[in-house]
Amino acid sequence: MTFDQMMLLLPLIIVTATPVITMLMVAVKRSHAVSCILTASGLLLALLSLLIVVRYPLQEVTPLLQVDNFNIFCTALILLAALAVTLFSYPYLCNLEDHQDEFYLLIAIATLGALVMVSSTHFITAFLGMETLSVCLYGMIAYPLHREATAQYPMEASIKYLVLSAVSSGFVLFGVALLYAQTGTLHFNDISVGITQGIADGPGSEYFVVASLLIITGFAFKLSLVPFHLWTPDVYEGAPLPATAFLATVGKVAMAALMMRFLSVSGVLDSPAIINVLTVIGVLSILGGNLLALLQANLKRLLSYSSIAHMGYLLIALMTIDSAITGDGSLGGEAVSFYLTAYVIMSLGAFGVMMVVSDSAHERDHIGHYQGLFWRDPWLAVIFTAMLLSLAGIPLTVGFIGKFYIFSVGVETAQWGPLAAMVIGSGIGLFYYLRIVYRMITPLDYDDPLPVAGIRDVISHGILLVLLVALVVLGVVPGGLMLLLESVVQSL
């Protein structure tokens, strides 16, 4: 490994060092604030190190890791989301009757797993990254374990996620094994060549289709696509809010980016069978997610169902990124990248508002908790409303542009079925998002004092402001980001 290649891995190295240093600090003296600051600065440092990375020639670092523009973009997105979750966690965890420090260790290591996932062009690293992320998530979901009153749900959620995630990992492994048997390679780039040869003198194309579908099933589980979505609401609801936010942003971005890389180079999308499957999964996810969210009163569950639908939208663009389908496939890639950015902003904003009014002892995750928010705390209500409108895809928000992007990709590739589902789904979505806004406007006739924002909430509110600005700016003048993404996707 040359020095140049080392420098390219700088973010990974920094994020690896972060939990080690934090752990050493914990060994010396436990301090919630210090752990949080150390983790946050580690993530920030990794983010800044990207400025150094882009000065070096981007290339493959060993066959296992690939550093290119797309990787840098996803790394930045993941680090930003992880940083925001870290900072949101501090006020949330302050009144936890337990040690808080380990939560930050888990965040840092989970982020490392996510970063590995988005850098990998090889199944070894991809699997390693997925498992690193998942194992940390089990811990994060079950974190408030020693609190009698609230211990039941986190534990239940964690066990469910552990078992089901393990099953899905098994699917992926089985698929990878089958693929390896046929192609003799674990490298994404070599698969398509291997497949053509494998089909010529191997056991035939069904074999390859089954292998790919096993892998896609595993991926679809992590993206919580129908029919592999049943775990999502239970885990979202049971996990403490920072863990939910992390799962919903970092987890989804890493998985989607990995899937995008896999689909774009492996040649899997050349098979009409797989396109058929993805189409069915997409339509089911859009309709199922939106319908499930319709009457949901628990906001964590509601957002989990809405995430199912959003990942369904994303799948429409994901299906088109193979160059064989759309010419160069870059429009689909741009749409996916843009939508992921938008989704991170909106989800972080929505969960952020919930985190600001919640703490580890009392989570406000019921729609009733937000009744009359417009009169009780107009600032938070405005942010929440903006995030919900963006999730619903109202123009002049980033969510609209993202949706429009995907829609135009769908039109260009003539996917009329998923597009029809998208239209219907967006219509249904409007109902349940606006229902929350309606509740926020309806005055509350009893007193339910919100926590008063103190000095330690300054950062949380600052992040919310940044998210709001990003949401509006990217909704009104998205041109800059679009240009950036164009160059990002070309590197794939």
Partner: protein, 633 residues
């Protein structure tokens, strides 16, 4: 300077936002300063831009403002377009708009909704500026609808009175009919030509359509529908007289600087489409002629000072349509400008009268006001003279141009000209009837006041601070000498080919000069003369009491029965239909959809059992399903 034209609507828009977001908590001085200052800045910028543009010798200037996004080949963007026509409109809107705003600080000084008033006014001007600056029809439509919204808000400004709310709703609904027609026109243009950029349309249309072809006729007719609605021409003129419900400065703004001129602007801007559809263009002329005559007769019978002015606006816009219809584009814009001056003057002067007389509108309860309200009196005299087109006032030059152009029309020249001249006679008659009744004769106001306990303390005091007097003065000067301004629109309509120089006989000229004077004299005899007061009154009663006179008076007073007609033909059947369809048949469909979603939700929720074993088996089942689709489908 030219690259700053994006700021023109931005100033009033910022003013609107500032006034709305503070929700009336600003002190009046500040609110007034924001409201007037924003328009003032716009006017200043418009003046500078105009000077630079006219000095540069450019034909047009396009200023891209913002590209929203570019997805594939789809790149919606905003640009402003500037040419001679835009310059004229900009100066009228911001200049006259500024004077009206300034006047309003005095007129509305005691109104509790002071800040709200200026917020709406600012938005109104901003929308109108967007309308004339837009380089594509969608942006123009945005301004168009913005103007519609603001007129609704302002006509219903005093919403405590349900009648005002009704007037506002009427204006909104009636103009909406025209807007719908225009929207369909836009769809048609886009579908046929593949673009909504105005200049591209104007280049493409002559290439794709031959003269008189069906599509061209349809497009022009649909746009005409929109123009007729906004400009209150037949058959959609009924909203304008009721729009008097708003405060008087609003009426000035709607009638002079904004709103009603939008239709004229639209036709002038897309004039090439109308040239491609000669039948529609002829229709424009006859709509204008019919409207100007109808409104002229109606104005003669009204008693409400503002309604008289309203019908006179309808009539004058009719002249502009007449000019557009005969292809005298620049004459139409010229008249639009002079009309903006003298109509603003008349309305603001009327506002002074109304305010001084404690919101009295009935002209027969006024009288002999020339000494008590000298500023209003002189304003009215100047304004009416210009409106009547007495020689050497601004209106004289513009109306003269229109009538000559009408005469030059190859087929119907004489008919159009005669109609126009008759209209000019009516104009003289009704405008000086107003002047004589209000400012001469016996003081009926004090008489009424002495009968009426409410008015006991109501001494007449002319309400003119400097803020109200200055606009009147400036507008008075402009009404007198505005005819000397040359509208720089030659380049815009250059290709239209200069109308061949016609040399009408001396007789024609003499007639056109004498007819208004003759009208003034008749109205003097009937309403103004002291020596013949008895005779005049006698004559009037005789005319009114003859069966025909009584019928015509009632018929014209009601605006030719149009309201009753529409009420009978449209409103009643619609209400009956609504009554019949109480349980909304179409709604059932949507209720069913909602119910379907609810049922699906209940069914799907059953899958969320919370049991891990069920989740695990569903994973396996899903995998089997997926592989099944993949292998067999």
């Amino acid at each position: 300077m030219l690259e700053w034209i994006g700021l023109l609507p931005a100033f009033p828009l910022a003013g609107f936002l500032a006034l709305v977001l503070t929700r009336g908590s600003l002190p009046r001085r500040i609110a007034g300063l924001i409201g007037v200052g924003s328009i003032g800045l716009s006017f200043l910028l418009a003046a500078l831009v105009s000077i630079e543009f006219l000095g540069s010798g450019l034909d047009s200037h396009t200023q891209p403002l913002w590209t929203w996004m570019s997805v594939g080949t789809f790149t919606p963007g905003f640009s402003f377009y500037l040419d001679g026509l835009t310059v004229v409109m900009l100066l009228i809107i911001s200049g006259v708009g500024f004077l009206i705003h300034l006047y309003s600080t005095g007129f509305m000084a005691d109104d509790p909704g002071f800040a709200r008033f200026f917020a709406y006014m600012n938005l109104f001007v901003a929308s109108m500026l967007v309308l004339v600056l837009a380089d594509n029809l969608v942006l123009l439509y945005l301004g168009w609808e913005g103007v519609g919204l603001c007129s609704y808000l302002l006509i219903g400004f005093w919403y405590d009175n349900p009648a005002n709310g009704y007037a506002a709703r009427k204006a909104f609904v009636v103009t909406r009919v025209g807007d719908t027609s225009m929207a369909i026109g836009l769809f048609l243009l886009f579908q046929q030509l593949g673009t909504l950029n105005i200049q591209e349309i104007l280049t493409l249309a002559p290439q794709q359509w031959s003269e008189g072809q069906g599509m061209a006729v349809a497009a022009a007719a649909l746009l005409l529908g929109g123009a007729v609605g906004k400009s209150a021409q037949l058959p959609l003129q009924t909203w304008l007289p009721d729009a008097m419900a708003g405060p008087t400065p609003i009426s000035a703004l709607i009638h002079a600087a904004t709103m009603v001129t939008a239709g004229v602007y639209l036709i002038a801007r897309t004039h090439i489409l109308f040239e491609l559809a000669p039948s529609v263009q002829l229709l424009v002329a006859f709509v204008g002629l019919a409207t100007l005559l109808m409104a002229g007769f109606t104005a003669l019978t009204q008693r409400d000072i503002k309604r008289i002015l309203a019908y006179s606006t309808i009539s004058q816009i009719g002249y502009m349509f007449l000019a557009l219809g005969v292809g005298a584009w620049s004459a139409a814009i010229f008249h639009l400008m002079t009309h903006a001056f003298f109509k603003a003057l008349l309305f603001l002067a009327a506002g002074t009268v109304i305010l001084s007389l404690h919101h009295e509108h009935d002209i027969f309860r006024m009288g002999d006001m020339r000494r008590k309200l000298p500023v209003a009196f002189w304003s009215f005299v100047i304004g009416s003279a210009a409106l009547t087109a007495l020689p050497f006032t601004s209106g004289f030059y513009s109306k003269d141009e229109i009538l000559l152009a009408a005469l030059a029309h190859p087929q119907y020249g004489m008919l159009l000209w005669l109609g126009g001249v008759l209209g000019a006679f009516m104009t003289a008659l009704y405008s000086f009837r107003l002047v004589f009744v209000v400012f001469f004769g016996r003081d009926n106001y004090q008489e009424h006041a002495s009968h009426d306990t409410h008015h006991v303390s109501s001494a007449i005091r002319e309400e003119t601070g400097i803020a109200m007097a200055l606009p009147l003065l400036i507008l008075g000067v402009l009404s007198l000498f505005g005819g000397l301004i040359h509208v720089p629109v030659d380049a815009v309509f250059a290709h239209a080919g200069a109308h061949e120089e016609t040399h009408p006989s001396q007789l024609i000229h003499t007639v056109m000069i004498l007819v208004p004077i003759f009208g003034v004299m008749i109205s003097y005899l009937l309403y103004g003369s002291r020596p013949y007061e008895k005779a005049g009154q006698h004559l009037r009663t005789q005319i009114l009491n003859s069966p025909l006179g009584r019928f015509l008076n009632r018929f014209w007073f009601s605006g030719w029965g149009m309201d009753a007609l529409y009420n009978f033909v449209f409103v009643k059947p619609f209400l009956a239909l609504a009554q019949f369809n109480r349980r909304d048949v179409i709604d059932q469909f949507y209720t069913a959809l909602a119910e379907l979603a609810r049922i699906s939700n209940r069914a799907l929720v059953l899958t969320q059992t919370g049991y891990l074993r069920w989740y695990a088996i569903s994973l396996v089942g899903g995998l089997v399903l997926v592989i099944g689709i993949g292998v067999w489908a």
